[in-house]
Amino acid sequence: MLSSIKARQIRIAYLFLLPAIIVFTLGLIVPLANTFELSFNRLSMGSRWEDRDYVGADNYARMVDDAHVLSSVGVTLRFAAVVLAAELVIGMGLALLLEKPIKGAAIFRTIFILPLMVSPVAVGLIWRYLLDGRIGLVNHYLGLLGIPAQTWLGDPNLAFFSIVITDIWQWTPFIFIILLAGLQALPSEVLEASRIDGANWFQMTFLIKVPMLRSILLVTILMRLIDVFRALEVIFIMTFGGPGRSTQVLSLHIYKTAFTSQTLGYASTIAVVLMFLMLVLSLGLLLFSNPLKERADF
């Protein structure tokens, strides 16, 4: 009797999961399995799936020596490091500065999340316009300060700097808002006790608040890192990886290998490697922030 009730519950549970399993299978697992299989094949654009050539590990061997893959890994890591460092420092600084609850904070917070809601394509287009060498507002205002016009998106170093600035504009609010929420959720007894013990601002900030935010900081870093590895739309619109390969992040390199060079098999190989990198990051994220852990039975 009891076991039949249990069996029924199990059946019901799987029925509730069925739609999700179907969507995941059709939408993610089948495509990813195809990517994996394709990474051992050669397939050019316009050919049919049946026409693929099995080449074993050739694609992987080729990738090891591929300077373009290495350079795009380098660009991705450099981009991730620079934007994360900048966004963390700025976001943390602002959160500490604006920590005190203040009248009208809600409206400001609303304004700050606007850059996050704007379509990445629109963000890319807006900044491409702002940074345009001839008609861009950035050069216009720098000109008023006596700084000569720059070709922001035409020079390798400046182009990299440009996509960094754009990312900072769009994503610092995300970090700021999370850290602000974290700061305001810190237990007030601890802060009160340290104040009574005579801790100064510096000690309060760097010896008490920041260490207490450690796990939030880690999660935020990992979430942003995963996003940086996934996203390519803003860069796609602003520079399409150029000039040269100065802004060609790995995602964009995969896209161009598949759809510009039209080598779908080789692109899949690079995609598999990117997936592996992301998997490591995600496992790290789970290690530090596991939404399932709160209930001991997971």
Binding site: L17, A106, P115, I126, L252, A258, S282
Partner: protein, 306 residues
């Protein structure tokens, strides 16, 4: 005396805080305002450097954008966003309920798998999706070619029917749902945790089936969580560019793909881009002002607990 001084000091520090906040708001809004302002400029005004904020506003860009298949792109975007949002909520709600409330073997691996799948980059998906969709089309056409009865049929045209099946919008709805599902499930599990189980138990005791408990008790109680999930799903589906670029054609293009048509070989039509950009940004903008609290709740859900 010292009280007065501390009040004055407090005011000074709030004043500083407001000054910083206003400066930040200007930085956040600036580029969006520039887009809005530029959308009312002629190409000539955009190209001349002297008239940044002073110019004769025109609606030409908007009328050009609206005359160029904007309604088609808009319809496609609305269909795909609403369909994938609705589907995500239903599917994620059911999955979250099973994962948070029911006991079954494999629960833990499935839960972890759901969380990890969050990382899949769209660029990785774009390749197999492109091939699968293309082959699916060829397969259907082959099937019709090989079937004499279908091959000769003219009304209804089987090829048209096949094209309907491979409609890029169907694919986009599926892939957006799959991409959004992990976050939605993750979020809803968190919300379900805060709902006491006594209500469900009472309903079961009163003779309700599990499905009735879900639709009549849990789904309504989850509404705040569903609202947050809906906003994030809609935002992704409305804004997504890469998969839409790969999967749609002339007739199924969504707005973010449509706007890039103004990046032509002959030059960039900035005025029209900014006009269309403004129109694309309106729904998320409205959503932000209506539901800022929910958006912030969703953003902090993963990182800040309690």
């Amino acid at each position: 005396m010292s009280v007065l001084r501390s009040i004055r000091r407090a005011n000074r520090s709030s004043l500083l805080q407001y000054a910083v906040l206003i400066a930040l708001a200007l930085i956040a809004l600036g580029p969006i305002i520039v887009m809005f302002v530029t959308s009312f400029k002629t190409q000539v005004d955009i190209m001349s450097s002297d008239s940044m904020w002073v110019f004769q506003p025109t609606l030409d860009n908007y009328s050009h954008v609206l005359d160029n298949k904007f309604d088609l792109f808009l319809r496609n975007s609305v269909i795909v966003s609403l369909a994938s949002t609705g589907l995500s909520l239903l599917v994620a709600g059911m999955a979250a309920y099973a994962l948070a409330r029911l006991e079954f073997p494999g629960r833990s691996p499935i839960a972890y798998f759901t969380l990890i799948i969050r990382m899949v980059p769209p660029a990785v998906l774009a390749i197999p999706i492109f091939i699968l969709w293309l082959n699916w089309e060829l397969f259907l056409f082959d099937l019709i070619d090989a079937t004499p009865f279908l091959y000769e049929l003219e009304n209804p045209d089987p090829y048209l029917f096949a094209e309907g099946l491979i409609d890029g919008r169907v694919g986009l709805t599926l892939f957006y749902t799959a991409l959004n599902l992990p976050f939605a499930v993750w979020l809803l599990i968190g919300f379900l945790r805060q709902i006491p189980t006594e209500i469900e138990e009472a309903a079961i005791v009163d003779g309700a089936t599990q499905w009735q408990v879900f639709t009549r008790v849990i789904f309504p109680l989850m509404r705040p969580g569903l609202a947050v999930a809906a906003i994030f799903t809609f935002r992704i589906s409305w804004n997504e560019f890469l998969l839409a670029l790969v999967l749609t054609d002339r007739n199924t293009r969504t707005l973010p793909v449509g706007i890039t048509l103004f990046l032509t070989e002959q030059g960039v039509q900035w005025g029209r881009i900014m006009a269309m950009g403004t129109l694309i940004v309106i729904p998320p903008l409205i959503l932000t002002f209506v539901a800022a609290r929910q958006i912030i709740a969703g953003m902090t859900a993963g990182a800040v607990k309690g």
